[in-house]
Symmetry: C2
Subunit: 212 residues, 2 copies
């Protein structure tokens, strides 16, 4: 084999083509969702004939799966690494937050797909429904933000972040816990006592002995 150095010209070409197909498919999937993208569309965007795609993948589903697996690998790898670097735990957490942010921002299309899988996405219906629900949801979130705002004004709460961001935070935590419960209702129940969740917000994680 002429693999002495690496790959034959043919093989490299094939690999590059594969990547091109992935890129095209990713754009489309991220934009419109798996079911709203046709194989013909992907082929067109990738500048191949449909038949060619089937030289690379058994079928649409397998194309999608390969794509997702490859990308998810990368992200998870980066996250694991981030947690291994840094001297103390605080530094590790900083790394993690930064990495998760940047590795996602780097290519937004993957974000959408990634979140679609781990936390979901709008499989869009030209979206009037979706927008309506979002709007309702947003209204509730605004009200929640007001509660935080008042709490801060009354000096009941410390202003550790903008009220709206606190609202986003609380909703995120609740959603996270609900997911836990959804996946394994027995093991992780959604806490009966709201304080279990609220304490995470209320109490500071950082031991203040070093600070105070």
């Amino acid at each position: 084999m002429k693999q002495s150095q690496k790959l034959s010209r043919r093989e490299r070409d094939k690999l590059r083509q594969r990547q091109e197909i992935f890129a095209a498919a990713l754009e489309l999937f991220a934009e419109k969702g798996y079911h709203n993208v046709s194989v013909n569309e992907i082929a067109e965007r990738a500048e191949f004939a449909v038949g060619t795609l089937y030289k690379f993948f058994d079928n649409k589903e397998s194309l999608y799966k390969s794509l997702m697996r490859e990308r998810a690998d990368r992200v998870h790898q980066a996250l694991s690494k981030a947690l291994e670097e840094g001297d103390d735990e605080i530094e590790k957490l900083r790394n993690y937050v930064r990495t998760k942010g940047s590795s996602f921002k780097e290519d937004a299309p993957v974000v959408r797909l990634y979140l679609a899988e781990t936390r979901g996405v709008n499989f869009n219906f030209e979206d009037d429904l979706h927008n309506d629900i979002r709007k309702q949801y947003e209204k509730v979130q605004q009200k929640l933000a007001v509660v935080f705002k008042h709490g801060i004004q009354k000096k009941l709460f410390n202003k550790i972040a903008e009220p709206y961001l606190l609202a986003v935070t609380l909703n995120s935590i609740i959603t996270g816990f609900l997911f836990l419960w959804l996946e394994q209702p027995e093991e992780n129940m959604y806490p009966e006592n709201p304080n279990t969740i609220l304490d995470i917000l209320f109490k500071g994680l950082l031991a203040d002995s070093p600070n105070a």
Copy 2:
């Protein structure tokens, strides 16, 4: 009209049937996702003929939309109300957390659909891909939990919750912020500085003057 008291027998029947169709559809959608449920299936589950469904709804999409709108309304209404009740802000937040939990637990199928819309869903492919990704994700989350555990052991962190729950929390917050960014990259950027996010965990929200 004999609406003197309410609805005619006919009308009540129709309404009940409509609800039955909704119930059947909801089960299936929640279980398998919109695209993997056929109208025939819904009809079968609801014990009607397909044709009958089309007496109630223009088409599949409209059935889905009506269903979603109705349910989402309920949830949002309940949440808004929760925020209005309670004397102080702490009480309001408790109400909110409790309501979001219980109104969702009440019927798990809606949860899945609701989260599908606000935060996404697994449109499942008999799920080997999904499971793999979840497993990877879970591994990272475990590593993150270890960081919290060590931090607590070193007394760097207060044990405000179990390490694993802290990991879930941090991931949830990050995801929440990423969503914000995804929706409107200009207005809400994902914080450059990881401390913006971490401070929410690190610093206590509750002003401790009243306690200490």
